[in-house]
Symmetry: C2
Subunit: 230 residues, 2 copies
């Protein structure tokens, strides 16, 4: 059975990493049901072989150990090529890489200051010191200062979603009529926010709310039914 | 023969519209050679039928009149389906729409303040008053003020290219091994800047310079040999 290491909160059932969610959705798309294993920053879980997990997701399949969400997605696509394609076919792969990089370099960094204080609160106490130190260094401000400035970040974040909003005004999913890995790569960020935060990152009347609802409902509500920290 | 109306400068051979360049490249990709017709803002060219061209590109083919670059691209893809696909096949179409919208909502608006004064200078004198009035209204500043602030806009523009830079670090073109309409949609912006501006919008050591050079060289140097205003 495929095993998937996922970042967990103080409650081991709370799984919020945007990159892990990409793979959870991708596995479901392929019709694969993994055993998911809680991982925490301070765990550095030792795998059956020699590898040590220093970041998640990590996927174990047929004796192979794979890390990094994009690499895992392409592995699943080609290893399980008789299951539904994650990209609608080979021609979908190159442009989808752009969407993944947009999510990595625009969407998720834009969400980060909006959710960072909630992520901190959801973490296992043993993870909090590491998280605070590394994230405050990256942002140059305390988590509390960032949380207090949430209202300043929100308009810019919402404006940055323009390409997503315009695309989804023309088609049901980034993948077209059916969801694809492009949808999962982007949705991971929204699920991250949803699992940890009580506040919504989207305005109520944002047209993206409809797409997000569709994503939440996929695979019998896999994401909708995920345990939240709030 | 296909006819294509393109925005022209004071020199009718200077063609700089980013949206027209998308279609020039797309036609070449399909192996189609259009008759290109100079159009200017104040021309409002009357077509053979009743239509009046109020924005370009406009494509005339087999008695049909098509406007808007994205619509024209999809028309060419399906009307000329025995010629090489602009999207690598149907699976490439949905994710490419995201890249087109990224170019429309991030890349081209980011280039606008960097090139607007040069565009103004390249225009036919009869177009300049209309252009000044409409663009100053949109930006809330005079063209001269915007040009003077070029150095302020440049770092943010270059940072906004992160998804493009990361994708092209992994693959030769947005289309993968071969250029696709995604590449033409993005390249149009760079060609706009190149045709009107003496200054480069990319830093010399930007890894995107190599991709842009490849794009300039396609179709026997179609874009490289285009007449520049400078």
């Amino acid at each position: 059975m495929i095993q998937l290491y996922e970042l967990a909160g103080a409650d081991p059932e709370v799984r919020f990493s945007p990159y892990c969610w990409r793979i959870r959705m991708a596995l479901a798309h392929k019709g694969l049901e993994p055993e998911t294993l809680a991982w925490r920053f301070k765990d550095r879980a030792k795998l059956p072989g020699k590898a040590v997990v220093t970041q998640v997701p990590v996927l174990l399949d047929q004796g192979r150990v794979l890390s990094e969400s994009t690499r895992i997605a392409f592995y699943l696509e080609h290893e399980y090529d008789s299951c539904p394609s994650l990209f609608g076919g080979p021609a979908g792969e190159p442009p989808t890489r752009f969407i993944i990089h947009w999510a990595d370099s625009v969407l998720n960094p834009g969400l980060f200051p909006l959710v960072v204080a909630d992520v901190f609160a959801a973490l296992h106490p043993r993870d909090q010191a590491y998280f605070r130190e590394s994230r405050e260094k990256r942002l140059g401000r305390s988590l509390e200062q960032i949380a207090a400035a949430r209202g300043e970040f929100l308009p810019g974040f919402r404006a940055s979603l323009a390409p997503l909003r315009r695309t989804l005004a023309e088609q049901r999913f980034l993948g077209g009529e059916e969801p694809s890995y492009a949808d999962y790569a982007v949705f991971g960020g929204f699920q991250w926010a949803r699992v940890v935060s009580p506040a919504d990152v989207l305005a109520e009347d944002d047209t993206l709310v409809a797409w997000r609802s569709e994503m939440l409902g996929l695979f019998e509500g896999l994401a909708a039914e995920a345990k939240r920290a709030v």
